[in-house]
Symmetry: C2
Subunit: 457 residues, 2 copies
Amino acid sequence: MASKASIPKGTRDFSSLEVSKRQYIISTIQKHFKTFGFKPIETPTFENSDTLMGKYGDEGDRLIFKILNSGDYLKKANAEAYENKDSVKLSSSISEKALKYDLTVPFARYVVQHQNEIDFPFKRYQIQNVYRADRPQKGRFREFTQCDADVIGSDSLWQEVEFIQLYDAVFTSLKLEGVTIKMNNRKILSGLAEVIGESDKLIDFTVALDKLDKIGEEGVKKEMLEKGISESAIDNIKPIFNFTGDFSQKIDLLISLLADSEIGQKGIEELQFIQRALDKMPLQTAKLDLDVTLARGLNYYTGAIFEISAPEEVKMGSIGGGGRYDDLTGIFGLKNMSGVGISFGLDRIYLVLEELNLFPQEIEETTKVLFINFGEKEALYALKAISKLRGSSISSELYPDTVKMKKQMTYADRRNIPYVVLAGGSEIKDEVYNLKNMKTGEQNKFSLKELFAHFSD
Amino acid sequence: MASKASIPKGTRDFSSLEVSKRQYIISTIQKHFKTFGFKPIETPTFENSDTLMGKYGDEGDRLIFKILNSGDYLKKANAEAYENKDSVKLSSSISEKALKYDLTVPFARYVVQHQNEIDFPFKRYQIQNVYRADRPQKGRFREFTQCDADVIGSDSLWQEVEFIQLYDAVFTSLKLEGVTIKMNNRKILSGLAEVIGESDKLIDFTVALDKLDKIGEEGVKKEMLEKGISESAIDNIKPIFNFTGDFSQKIDLLISLLADSEIGQKGIEELQFIQRALDKMPLQTAKLDLDVTLARGLNYYTGAIFEISAPEEVKMGSIGGGGRYDDLTGIFGLKNMSGVGISFGLDRIYLVLEELNLFPQEIEETTKVLFINFGEKEALYALKAISKLRGSSISSELYPDTVKMKKQMTYADRRNIPYVVLAGGSEIKDEVYNLKNMKTGEQNKFSLKELFAHFSD
């Protein structure tokens, strides 16, 4: 019986046009990763379960795809869990491997495992797929590509400066202008919690503040009150609910707000260092903004926090993000390795470029010239030219079968092939190739040399 | 507690040098796939289990990695299998997805699923990872990369001609000379079985014959006898055990051997068509050879069969292969789609290039120039030059921290960075950059413009 042709929920087939568009974004990002001195690594699609489990919280554990052990896997099944039909408890005894959930934890594992082969500071990039058993929905997939760059083993703020330049370079290359690089610093958030006397509620405070653009000032205040943050405390940081002005003006406001917090002052100094550097080297097309509500995975970040917003005319949310973390490799036993990294959201960047019509036209053109197949002798004559063109990386094809012209022309048309060569008996006699421009309809007879010159320009 | 940093058996981390070398091979193959008119597709890492199960035989089913269902997966567990602790029977009720085992079956599924969007003949390439729960051993991995190109929807023999040219083009580009493209045809094998009156034992006959280079003439004869092929039948095809000479001489021998087999004659005609074409368009560096013992996955191939041997001085076996199949998409309900395809064995090609020292030197160079970090002011001065170099894709880095010169120079050394720039107070005053060639030790002072020109040549 024939199997049904379908794919799992939340996964995707990519057509050649989609692959080419994705490849265009990936190779642009990759090019800049390289010119900024990052080196590629790759890690396996699946890791040992204990490398991943417990690293992303309970929700994360649930969303990790687990691979069933091979062979007679029930032999080692946990007897009690089996008896009780306890799916969660049974898993670890019948599954030892799991698909990677992000690139960060495998990277930390890589750094620890290969620490003796690595020269620190280690600047690596990694562009690979990750897997999450999330409920599939629009724009959320169970398999998607992450593009990460990190530096580990240096706490220099020049990295933050360079990552901002890197974001600017990539989006400028993609012709995506008007991107906003939003920045914050964990130390600013700690400072704010400190000056209002709620340091012990730092997480609740920042989780609520992070929602400002979604639920508004009243919503945030309500959530803070519910979490036990006092009304007077909230009043003390009122200015951040209407935090406007340019980068310098915002810094000035923070200086007065955080005057009594040592950690807050440290955060300000870090922001000022970055601002000073970028004043001397202005960004090309991106805007830098200070957003004190930005928290992202706060538990994780210890210094700078980044998030990229698509241009305002596109409703898309974040298309990238990152930040500094001081103890990523500690979970695998290597302490005191400061790191900072950023990520590009490939799927969302794709949607933004699509919406703004920013993919270059050439992407749709795969084959440059199709040679019509009139029979064995003619095909051989065509292949002589084809070999020469291919030798110079000019993509060319012989239509495989000797079928009606119309069918062959339709094939060229449908595949967006811009040129067709017709070479039958009379052309072979005259040693020429009849080249037809599919857009204009224009036809010209060329010698092999002229034909080659035509495409080599 | 810190988790142990390790990866599953049979999987690999790739260092940046390894990624770069793999990328060199992949991008060479990809470039030629494109110039030959193939378009890329990608399919998900995991498929629905029923897409894969039963397509690779019992052994294949066993080697497919199965993904445990999410949530309370035991709820739907097959009660009888659960009761009997039957691992094999239980699998299909607790696992609905599986990692892909090769690229061919997902491709067939893709063609059937998207048949209305595809213009046939469909020339696609696909470079993705596949997964097998094989016992890991030297050169055999549980995750590895396949590079496939196929044409589906045409039975033209020009495809076979072009695939031979494609192999030749790729290996010539990789500077891997002396590769042998071994060819056979299923119809020749059918013809041989027919003329010795053993058509019903075709599979046993070819499986035995395929082992000639491993177990020798006596070994093959012994196996054929054991399978019930008569001694006199074997005597009839004696010449193929010492099948020498060039392509034409071998064809001549086959003409006399297969005079009484219609299908055999058809096979000879196909080989002759290909020979005629390649006589007119000689290969660049590869040799074409006719090997009548070549069978590979016979059940699968219906016409041409290809296998690539590495140059003789390397003991490696096959580094690629392929052939024509007439009913690949039938398993998903789309009949009468003739296809032909080839595959490149990335891991083995990698080992061959390594052994013959054929990877270009430039691969080891990732960053072109490192700027020494003498402090904030100097770093800013350096970054001005770095931005300009990066703008022209010249990979450059600022050492992130202001540490001892020696440490920074060691970093450049270890990472094979060929140039270092030293720019301190006096250079800033003179508006120059002091460029040091790490190989020769030579130092030169350049203006920014001169520095840029130096690297742009």
